[in-house]
């Protein structure tokens, strides 16, 4: 009987001690906010396009950090962004749902624009300039190609054009050899897991 008592007492006392130490540690090492969300946000392309189903890049980052969203919802970021996030989160990569298209910019056909300012209100990065009853124009260098301005336009005068390729921005493709495809095969294999 005494043995049982000793056992219970010692175990209880030890557990209590451990509990107290851990409680103190919890206070000391308390983590404010979610540092992961910021790290993920830094990887996102900031088009603020909402194609992920969240109202912008930051909310999506927060959702991923909180394990509420998958890593593969960023369409404009494409595979590379997905891999970077998966890498950061330490989770298996998943196939990107939609192929990222070539980078686009919006273009307003000025002669058709009625100056309604609806597109200006829709643009998440203030890339459209103009005043009521005036022609609006897109600052091509600021446009993220999110297409959010296309829908609100009452006269459909906004076109999405492929961003012109500059010789300065031209980059060498991978060599066309059998071995060079290993990297791609590896990525495809990861994609196949989804």
């Amino acid at each position: 009987m005494a043995g049982l008592l000793y056992a219970l007492l010692s175990l209880g006392a030890f557990a209590l001690l451990a509990g107290i130490i851990l409680a103190i540690a919890q206070k000391v090492f308390h983590v404010e906010g979610d540092p992961m969300a910021e790290k993920i946000d830094a990887l996102l392309p900031q088009t603020q396009c909402g194609q992920c189903g969240y109202p912008g890049c930051k909310p999506y980052a927060a959702a991923v950090a909180g394990h509420e969203a998958d890593v593969n919802h960023c369409v404009p970021g494409g595979e590379r962004t997905m891999l970077a996030i998966a890498d950061l989160m330490g989770v298996e990569p998943k196939a990107v749902e939609q192929e990222a298209a070539a980078p686009m910019v919006a273009f307003i056909r000025e002669d058709e624009c009625i100056g309604c300012t609806l597109c200006i209100k829709a643009c998440p990065v203030d890339a459209i300039v103009g005043a009521p009853k005036q022609y609006h124009a897109i600052i091509a260098d600021h446009c993220t190609g999110c297409e959010l301005c296309v829908e609100p336009c009452p006269v459909d005068c906004i076109d999405m054009l492929v961003k012109p390729e500059l010789i300065e921005h031209w980059a060498w493709p991978l060599p066309e050899t059998r071995r060079s495809r290993i990297g791609h095969e590896r990525r495809e294999q990861h994609a196949g897991h989804a």
Partner: protein
């Protein structure tokens, strides 16, 4: 047809095939000595290992849908030859075939073929065999250079019987035709309390014999002279650099000299270490295998020193008499990290980088 082809539009003309062939050529002196010592048996072993390696490689290539022309890069032949040279003369034929299959499949093809293996294929097969068949892998046939060789190894039919049917077919036991290797002898005697000098004297050990290759051992590792000729040939042809062999041998010699000076009864002298066992073969042909050794000069020196320390430690303290093979395999594990931390200094950067 217009591929995107980047500069340079000139090439020096080196090929994998020629590099591998160079190593095979460099091994010929050692192979010749092995045939002199162990007669037809050595030749059979070498040919069988090479043939089995090539056949295994062909099957693997076929299975993976790669072009069979890859066989012509000579790497499978080299692996077979290297494996054969590390085997004792008494290795039965099936063990040689098994070893070749291990070397090609587990050692190389499983990692993606030539260039991707992590461990030296021949050595990994050798270690698998050693651990699986410890008796056969540590029975050393008495060579033809001995005063009274128990079997005539220059007789083809005797050798064929021995090779394919084993010693029992010759109405003799393994013990009757085998002897201890110098390393094994010293280790056994030490555990019995006999100091190194005494053990060597009892063995009739002679440095000259060991240098020329008249002591027993694995068929290709006996002759220091033949291996040195091959090594110098490789160095001259720029197939290997001096870093690994030099640092490896120097480390073993230094450690041996140091501890021999402290306690000559326990620790064998440096010359003995350098001439004994598979050290020379490992230093010039195994540790220098480009695929499984570091790329950078500093990394190669670190690699060589690591091999040296491990070889000497295992020989002096370990359960196995010979540590050269293990040490190279162990250092193979560390190659990616060595490569990462031992990069050369980059132009315009000082000292270490992050």
């Amino acid at each position: 047809m217009l591929l995107m082809l980047s500069s340079p539009h000139a090439h020096g003309g080196d090929t994998i095939r020629v590099m591998m062939l160079t190593v095979i050529l460099a091994l010929l002196p050692a192979a010749a000595v092995s045939v002199y010592l162990f007669g037809w048996l050595a030749l059979l072993l070498i040919l069988l290992c090479m043939a089995a390696s090539l056949a295994t490689e062909a099957v693997c290539l076929k299975l993976m849908g790669k072009p069979l022309s890859t066989l012509l890069d000579n790497s499978a032949a080299l692996t077979g030859l290297l494996l054969a040279l590390t085997l004792p003369a008494l290795t039965p034929w099936w063990m040689a075939v098994l070893g070749s299959i291990f070397a090609i499949v587990l050692g190389k093809q499983i990692y993606g073929g030539i260039g991707y293996n992590i461990f030296n294929p021949a050595l990994s097969a050798r270690v698998i065999l050693l651990i699986s068949f410890p008796l056969q892998m540590t029975s050393w046939l008495v060579p033809m250079s001995a005063a009274t060789p128990p079997v005539d190894l220059y007789d083809l039919s005797t050798c064929l019987t021995l090779f394919f049917a084993g010693p029992d077919a010759l109405k003799s036991s393994l013990d009757a035709i085998s002897m201890a290797s110098p390393l094994g002898h010293v280790k056994t005697e030490w555990t019995l309390g006999v100091p190194v000098e005494g053990a060597l004297a009892a063995y009739n050990y002679s440095y000259l014999n060991a240098f020329l290759g008249f002591e027993t051992g694995s068929i290709g590792e006996t002759s220091v002279l033949a291996l040195l000729i091959g090594g110098v040939f490789l160095l001259a042809r720029h197939s290997i650099t001096w870093h690994i062999p030099f640092s490896y041998l120097a480390t073993v010699a230094l450690l041996a000299a140091l501890f021999n000076a402290i306690d000559p009864a326990h620790f064998a002298p440096p010359m003995f270490h350098l001439f004994a066992g598979g050290l020379m073969l490992c230093a010039f042909f195994m540790a220098t295998d480009p695929v499984s050794s570091p790329v950078t000069p500093l990394g190669q020196i670190v690699f060589g020193v690591g091999c040296g320390v491990l070889t000497w430690s295992i020989r002096s303290f370990g359960g196995y008499p010979e540590g050269a093979m293990f040490s190279v395999l162990l250092m193979n594990c560390a190659v990616p990290l060595i490569d990462h931390y031992c990069r050369p200094r980059v132009y315009g950067h000082d000292g270490r980088r992050v």
